[in-house]
Amino acid sequence: MLKYILRRIILSIPVLLGVSIVSFMIISLAPGDFLDSYRLNPAVDAEQVKLLEKNFGLDKSPVVQYFLWLKNMLQGEWGQSFTYQVPVWDLIWRRVGATLLLSITTFIFTWGIGIPLGIYAALHQYSLGDQIVAVIGFIGLSIPNFFFALLFLFFAAKTGGKYFPVGGYISLDYDSFPVWKKFLDIVWHVLGPMITLGTSGLAGTMRIMRGQLLDELKQDYVEFARAKGMPENVVIYKHALRNAINPIITALGFSISGLLGGAVLTENVFGWPGMGQLIIEALLQQDIFVIMADIMLASVLLVVGNLIADILLAAVDPRVRLRLG
């Protein structure tokens, strides 16, 4: 097992290197650079732009820039943000908390509700409950996130912010709250973006769970177990469910890479101070090192997420374990 993990880690190095080359290339191919807004500013002299180009290293060819970046990154230097004049890592680190809070609660919401509902729907196939659950799921899936978010905020504003806050991360008088209330305040604020993001993921999780479980329930071994007189609960929850959960775990691996990606539109509408906002601004301003850091971080998480998913799969499925050998 350990050998397998080690091999996977070594194999991921060329993958990450490839990702970095391709993304750096695409960023360089995009016309213009960070200084374009300076170039069209009547207050900035052309000489000054040249000076800044030199200071920011933008006067070098993209290939040289890439290797400089790679060299620095291998030494643990992720570069400076042009706009903020602080190390990129610093910038990302400040946003990680809010993003993780949102993605983890959304994750719990989606999976915590989606899996039980999926199981319920599978066990009561074609019943009224199944239909209702399906309809709710598809409504969530089909309403675009930003629109759902706006509807949510509209509701919050019309009710005067009594039930839900009108976006934001904390209340205005947050600082005067005792610790427990601070905690509750943040939870109250996370509800909106969480529900918005969660409802769109809910249908997917639910349908996969339902379909998989239905498949398993039709298998011979289920019939056999039932015929042997095994209690129905044991048949379903110990045997069938265990096999049905495989694809869900694979999907979980992918969702780890999304943990930090954030949800740009939803974050924007709710004014959630996560990484999505940061990245979109960096993209618009061509703040190269911030973009690169984000891409690399997402790639690392994707690799790690898949690894975790595989390990989890091995844990639940002996067939996988055998192959890993």
């Binding site: 374009d36 000489e47 200071n55 602080v86 919050a156 976006g167 004014g271």
Partner: protein
Amino acid sequence: MKKFLVLLLVFVSALAVFAEEVDWAIEDVAGKPGGTLFLDTTSGPKTMNPAWAQETSSTDIIGWVLDTLVHSSNKGLAELPGLAKEFSAKVTEDGKTVYTYVLRKGLKWSDGEPLTVDDVIWSFEKIWFDENMTANGNAGYMDSNDELPSIVRVDDYTVQFIYNSKFRRGHESIGWTEILPKHVLEPYYNEGKFQEAWSLAELDKVVGSGPFVLKEYKEGVRVVLEKNPYYYRKDKNGVQLPYLDQIIYIIVKDLNTGRLKFEAGETDIYSPTAEEFPEIRAMAEEKGWIVKQGGPNLGSNFVTFNFNAKDPVKRKWFRNDHFRRAIAYAIDKQTLIDVLYNGLGAALYGPVSPSSGFYNPEVENLGFRYSLARAKRELKDGGFVLKGGKLYDADGNQVKFELTTNAGNNVREEIGNILKENLSKLGIEVNFAPMQFNSLVGKLVSTGDWEAIIIGLTGSVDPASGWNVWRLDGGLHFWNYSPEVKPDMYDDALKADYMVPEYEKRIDEIMRLQVTAVDKDELRKLFDEFQMLVAEHQVLVYTVAQNYLIAYKNTVHIYNPEPNPAAGVLWAGWNIWKDQ
């Protein structure tokens, strides 16, 4: 012990003798202190370092925290005292210009340290006059000979900036520059790390002199400003200003959410879009809002034609005055204002905004109102012929060109669409294709590979801030770059064809002369002529601008009776107060 106490007493009273009374600035306002003003902003500050801050999200906050020698009047002119209680400009007999600033006595930084003339001198000498220390460079402080002024410390409160030539712009550029605390920033400077000073990681180190100090910044959430206890202004009842205890900027990325927050009462002031304005106005009475409309914004949107387009046939048209005038007649400004700004806008005819104190209303009398008939007459005068619904030049070439703008800017895209349609009625075929902003800038300032572009520049009250655009050797003289400024754009054929029309020469001359026009009447005359020249020849074909629109709760007492884009609704913010 007793001895020690006596000694202490003597020491304290000695200090009291030396502690100076502040030269208070007395404001003509009688409000009530206390309260918090809630504002919204789309983005928090990127840095609090004024030399490196670029976006308004940063400079708006810095404006509260760091004070300047001189303040702007509500018409946007540099004429009110700030840190300096007196200032003057004099031209000496040998042709030098001397700007004198007298600091108030007893000024203090927000950390309690005295603010002295040494801070002023240090800020200019080490930071603002050094091109490596700021993002914008030091060109803004230079006179027409590209020389910086020398700084003379006259006494403990007086400092002079002496230019070796007649130079009128020094007062604005020096007077409006933030004075920095030497005792805080010098260590960064000495370590060569000034650029990183007061970045996000170090906001707790910011020390200011303005009405408010930065208390807290939660990224992406809010910025909290707190009143500076050492601020040097009092109202007419002797209450120390600012009135407000706090200003809180709530960061709201999404404009719809910003409006919802204002409607829910979470923010106090809101700048509606033109589209929203009628709705907001309709709700105002019920909600208790005050809604106001000011003059047109300072920025501009215009169409520019490349006098040095790669195609020799096309550049001949673009250089033809009649051609550009015809375009000006073909722009239906009123429809644009109605469509884009719900009727809440103004037509622009020249390079200076009607909101500026330097605006010359004469430009409107040139009569560039929408008229396809007059456009046709201009084209005829320019030697163009309309045949079978298509326009041809004197040599028989069909008139068609590429028009572009930056994609995503609704206003410019709409201008392009309407223009294209109107020009087709004149037989001109326009291929209108918006492109990404960075590509557009690349074409405009590096390759020169474009024909016509709709673009805008940030405006300001003083037309001279556009010298970079109007001077022949300017870095933004994009429609007719000099081959010396942009050698890469020119091959030999194009270089041989480069020409400067008379009006361009005169504009260039005016832009050089205005720099030395210390006399106000002389200056106004020059700027009047400049505006007429640009408008008459439609060097840039100006379009429309939106009016300045605001809505605020009636519990907020803003100070500016007529908010205009030059000063803004938050002008003299230390005088703003709020009913509790």
